[in-house]
Amino acid sequence: MAKIRVVHYINQFFANIGGEEKADIKPELREGVVGPGAAFNQAFGDEAEIVATVICGDSYFNENLEEAKKTVIDMVKSQNADMFLAGPAFNAGRYGVACGTIADAVKKELGIPVLTGMYVENPGADMFKNSVYIVATKNSAAGMRDAVKKMAPLALKLAKGEKIGASAEEGYMPNGVRKNFFDTKRGSARAIDMLLKKLAGKEFVTEFPMPDFDRVAPNPAVKDIAHATIALVTSGGIVPKGNPDHIESSSASKYGKYDIEGVMDLTADTYETAHGGYDPVYANEDADRVLPVDILREYEKEGKIGKLHRYFYTTVGNGTAVKSAKGFADEFSKELKDANVDAVILTST
């Protein structure tokens, strides 16, 4: 049987071209292995071979995303690859994001199996662990040998279309898909092991992480709503028509702040939603359905509230990382506070 053809993606640093000063180099295709590829080839034995290596600078990739993706995909395609391998990126943030992004893109565009590896706290891990298999590695290149040991067998399994076991068996990061497997100890014994660690204050790993909780205790009620300044904030993606700041329809990287001084009603001609992942027809028809400016203006007039704050803040909730959303809120909450806003109405889609 012919060997499985693997294309390997690495950055300028692992290609031994240079560090930060060379991070802007464009994608380049080299025949055979470069850098860490040798270790993979050895681990693959007779079954697979890295036929080519794509090298790209981290800054270039992240700053010229679309172009870089297209170029790399074409390069992989030109090699008739059966399998695409990226990294491992360890704790290098931009490299990790590049590995995740390109692995995801190759999988979607070329339909071949892909695998990457990085440290669990690498931002690329959170972004892509649910869309591509990412092997958890140590946090520095000193963990290369260990990473190859875990990645190579999984890459072979993926390339051969074999059944992939649970994350705990295969070494990839939990990807939100629960999978059964037979552990070496029975459940009761595992529970006692876990309890002993917990009692001793040692680190333990739960077999089922609870969904992320970030509950915020509600503030006390606004005492005098008739004189309060109320602001509107939404993750429903309402933006002035044309989306002037180009807030992304999913995984938003920014938020917008828009002046609604004198705006009494959001209309189909003036506002729309930037939010993907739901039917936008009703929001586009009348954006008040998501961001109720019209009603608050009425309340303002009737004296039910003091006034509507001059600016509203908006972003897209669809697939946006909790971390980014928190970051946005940290910023604009300060502005809201400085503007003596008494209360905020938060809306979503």
Binding site: F182, E207, M210
Partner: protein, 427 residues
């Protein structure tokens, strides 16, 4: 100090014979004697008795309960107290168990059915009862018997037969004798002053018809959380009347061989001081949940526990009890580990539990009960294959042309045990 010695008599085979006896690891069974015991109940019209051995091409379905034959040799009370024997408190003296054998009851109580035990093939990997030699009772009720009465008749017949078989081991020399010792609060403190105090909280299914558990004969719905000596369960103080959700219910066999109890005893005096066991329920009425979880946490505190293991039984409604218990026990400053299973959908992407809380940061899972497995066509079916598409975990038209059956793990008896009887897990 309280001590129970359990003498384990290893059973390698069951064979029919004119005389019931245990000899050289073989359980000889007089079929007619068994039938007579079953038919003592006039609500049972007829009964077949079959043997299913590990590795045989046999499928047992629909399984109602699995029971280990045991008997009391020394000490007060008898096996299955409050139901087969008098209500005398058990858990001391000496008990004999026919290890490696089990009584399995089957019967079509309602139109949709529960429980598959395959003795070979893919399914056998998941059920613990593919490893035991099983005496299977296939019972048919008199016409028009109501579901409640039918369930009761089936349950009692299984217990009577298990008690009868257990008696056969009374004077047999066991292969292994294990001594389980527990101490009073003060005694334990003095004996193990430096070991962490650990307790076991067992939640018992107690929702209603086919969802019940009995403690010394009392319906667990009607109990308030209480302390029980862990050796009591080894004498059958807790019995299953739970016929639904075969993968994660605890058959009587599992109660008698509760793995959390056994594994805690294994650590008792070494890494922990196994202080005791608290049983609580999983009622439908929300005020009951509130009361039971409050009280459970109080009892944990009263016992001065440093750590607790909480096990669940069932799905949905009990998730709420599990989380309430975990939250309240943790809030007392007691380190808590919970054992559950998951319903994450066939593709494994759905939310696994119906409730959640950040305090549940140490979870052991018995696996995703929705995951699909393919069961091979087997030569013989004991019981009735027709209900298979009506078994929880089966679905319409799931018997494929080649005779293989596609089912969710839910259908397999004991597959995703929430007391951690198996090695199965999920990530």
């Amino acid at each position: 100090m309280r001590k129970l010695e359990v003498g384990y008599i290893d059973i390698h085979d069951i064979q029919f014979s004119n005389e019931s006896k245990v000899e050289n690891g073989v359980l000889f069974v007089d079929k007619e004697a068994i039938k007579k015991i079953v038919l003592e109940d006039e609500n049972i019209k007829s009964c077949e008795v079959e043997i299913a051995r590990p590795g045989e091409s046999v499928r047992i379905t629909p399984v109602k309960d699995v029971i280990e034959p045991r008997c009391k040799v020394e000490g007060q009370g008898g096996i299955f107290p409050g139901v087969i024997s008098k209500v005398t408190t058990v858990g001391t003296g000496r008990t004999h168990a026919l290890r490696g054998s089990a009584v399995v009851t089957t019967g079509k109580i309602v139109g949709f059915q529960e429980g598959i035990i395959d003795m070979t093939g893919e399914g056998a990997k998941y059920t613990p009862f593919s490893k035991t030699v099983n005496l299977v009772l296939v019972m048919n009720p008199i016409d028009g018997l109501k579901q409640h009465e039918h369930e009761y008749a089936n349950r009692m017949a299984g217990l009577r037969v298990a008690a009868y078989l257990g008696e056969l081991g009374k004077s047999v020399e066991p292969n292994e004798v294990v001594s389980y010792e527990t101490y009073g609060v003060k005694e334990g403190m003095e004996k193990y002053p430096n070991l962490p105090r650990v307790g076991y909280v067992q939640m018992l299914q107690s929702q209603g018809l086919m969802h019940d558990t009995y403690v010394y004969g009392v319906d667990a719905k009607k109990i308030v959380p209480t302390i029980i000596n862990p050796t009591e369960v080894m004498d059958g103080a807790i019995l299953s009347g739970n016929c639904v959700s075969s993968c994660d219910k605890n058959p009587t066999y599992i109660h008698m061989n509760n793995p959390v109890v056994h594994d805690l005893f294994a650590q008792h005096g070494k890494t922990i001081n196994f202080v005791g066991m608290i049983i609580t329920n999983e009622n439908v009425y929300l005020a009951d949940k509130e009361r039971s979880s409050n009280w459970t946490a109080e009892l944990c505190e009263y016992l001065d526990l440093d750590g607790a293991i909480v096990s669940q039984e069932g799905f949905g409604n009990p998730d709420t009890d599990l989380i309430m218990n975990c939250k309240k026990i943790s809030a007392k400053g007691i380190k808590t580990v919970i054992i559950t299973d998951e319903y994450a959908g066939r593709d494994g992407t759905s939310q696994s539990l119906a409730d959640a809380d950040p305090s549940a940061d140490a979870v052991v899972t018995g696996g995703n009960a929705n995951e699909l497995i393919t069961l091979p066509k087997l030569d013989k079916v004991i019981g009735d294959l027709s209900p298979i598409d009506k078994i929880a975990g089966g679905f319409e038209n799931n018997v494929l042309e080649d005779g293989t059956i596609l089912v969710e793990l839910q259908a397999i008896t004991g597959a995703t045990s929430e007391v951690g009887f198996n090695c199965l897990s999920a990530r």
